[in-house]
């Protein structure tokens, strides 16, 4: 695991900052820019993330998501083009996964106490799904049954992509934006990422080497809880509306972070059966459970470092 010491001059050109955003810690690291330029570029990256948070938060009353949850049953609600873009992406993946990914699982998450009860919104119809959301012209959406949308399973990845886009003009050699484990790397250098799956002390440590791509991980393990005597957690199967991933860890690699983020939920539910969908998006995944260890879905199998040394 040792590598040659990096010359100080290169190290001095690295700037990394972190802020609490999107309910987690968002960090941005730039290489190869003077500190003042890097600070400006990082500011623009954080601003892009904050903007997505304002638009798509389930918690903030004035967000597009909260406005839609209040009013879209009664009348078309116009949203920001960025919100609309995320909704379109979410609906496409919902369709491709036959509803395994569904942004309408918010009702369950509220019931389990994972999301707060939205103010002044009609309780959702338990049978409502992504099919009851209509995306209309001029960035409008409308619900055909009472439902609550939550973009928590996709907006973080989208925010990472927007940050990467905002930073690009600064011309950094390498840029890494990491929103609580959903991250994207832009640049030529290989980044190493520790996949923080639950493991016994004797188990191998999983380290991913990546270049120029989006990566998202989901694990129900640390967040599992009980609700009314049954298992609950942040990842809900769109069709069965039951908790998933309570024993597994999933990482998805994709050209963009928004796709990686959304597809973690599909891989969690379908494992290797998610392969066609991963391939359609130029993505691949690694799946882990404490009992079965690591499995590749679409990419090369994991390499044990003893073989390479």
């Amino acid at each position: 695991m040792s590598s040659p010491r990096t010359p100080c001059i290169l190290r001095a050109a690295s700037t990394e900052r972190a802020r609490p955003l999107l309910g987690t810690m968002v960090s941005i690291r730039l290489e190869g820019l003077p500190r003042a330029c890097a600070n400006d570029a990082i500011d623009s990256g954080f601003a892009a993330v904050e903007f997505v948070q304002r638009l798509m938060s389930f918690h903030e009353d004035a967000s597009d998501v909260s406005r839609a949850n209040r009013d879209a049953l009664a009348r078309p609600v116009q949203v920001h083009p960025q919100t609309y873009a995320v909704l379109r992406q979410a609906q496409a993946i919902a369709e491709e996964s036959a509803g395994v990914f569904d942004i309408c699982v918010a009702g369950r998450l509220v019931e389990w106490g994972i999301l707060p009860l939205p103010r002044a919104a009609r309780p959702p119809d338990p049978g409502a799904s992504w099919r009851d959301i209509e995306l209309g012209p001029d960035y409008t959406l409308r619900f055909h049954r009472p439902l609550w949308i939550d973009l928590g399973g996709i907006a973080k990845g989208y925010a990472v992509d927007r940050a990467i886009e905002a930073i690009a003009p600064a011309g950094a050699q390498q840029c890494v934006v990491n929103a609580g484990g959903d991250l994207r790397v832009a640049g030529r250098a290989t980044e190493r990422v520790l996949l923080d799956a639950e493991r016994d002390p004797g188990d191998a440590v999983a380290v991913l080497e990546i270049e120029n791509l989006g990566l998202a991980s989901s694990s129900g393990l640390r967040h599992r809880r009980r609700h009314g005597g049954r298992a609950a957690g942040p990842h809900v199967h769109g069709r069965t509306r039951s908790v998933m991933g309570a024993r597994s860890f999933v990482s998805v690699l994709a050209p963009t972070c928004v796709v990686a983020d959304a597809l973690t939920k599909v891989v969690m539910a379908q494992r290797r059966h998610a392969l066609p969908l991963l391939e359609r998006h130029g993505a691949a995944a690694y799946w882990h459970s404490p009992r079965l260890g690591w499995r590749a879905i679409g990419g090369d199998p994991p390499v044990s470092t003893e073989e390479t040394q």
């Binding site: 010491r5 609490p20 309910g23 959903d182 990419g299």
Partner: protein, 172 residues
């Protein structure tokens, strides 16, 4: 898109290899939030009653009665604070502008383990060289995926610092 998953035997993987969560030094954070301004130390030691009032007003846990604060040349305040999660400790700063609004929040360090937390010299590690070298070990892994750190306790900390500013610093 190129990637490879390496499975490293734990014997070959020293914990020190993972060095996530070391960001800015105190001085860098000052310049990131208040570029070009100068900073005058203005620490405040709260009395028992003041601590109690802050706990009541902010409903946030309080670690120390000494508030690490700087007054900026533009009339703002810069406060260094620490909060604790279940497995982690986050050291961060808040810039508050002359009108009392948050100008910026920057995390300096997020680490696990509580060594030295009661040490009165804890502040020193966030100054200049000591801090910078801690984050720049060669061959370290600085990215982690799969740990979704909750920042709820930062939200609480920010609430407490803003209450401290409104009740004591701004009136000072």
């Amino acid at each position: 898109m190129r990637f490879q998953l390496l499975l490293i035997p734990p014997a070959l993987f020293a914990p020190a290899v993972v060095q996530a969560g070391t960001y800015l030094t105190l001085e860098q954070a000052q310049q990131a939030i208040f570029p070009g301004e100068t900073f005058t130390p203005a620490d405040l030691v709260l009395g028992k009653e003041q601590v109690e009032e802050l706990l009541r007003v902010s409903r946030s846990p309080m670690l120390r009665s000494r508030v690490r604060a700087w007054k900026t040349s533009g009339g703002g305040w810069f406060v260094l604070d620490q909060v604790f999660g279940r497995d982690d400790r986050i050291t961060y700063v808040i810039g508050i502008d002359a009108s009392g609004a948050v100008r910026g929040i920057e995390i300096l360090v997020c680490d696990s383990g509580y060594d030295g937390i009661r040490n009165p010299r804890w502040l020193e590690q966030f100054h200049g060289a000591t801090h910078a070298t801690a984050g720049a070990m060669a061959g370290t892994i600085v990215n982690i995926s799969g740990t979704t750190l909750s920042v709820e306790h930062i939200t609480e900390g920010v609430r407490r610092v803003l209450a401290t500013h409104a009740l004591y610093l701004a009136r000072g």
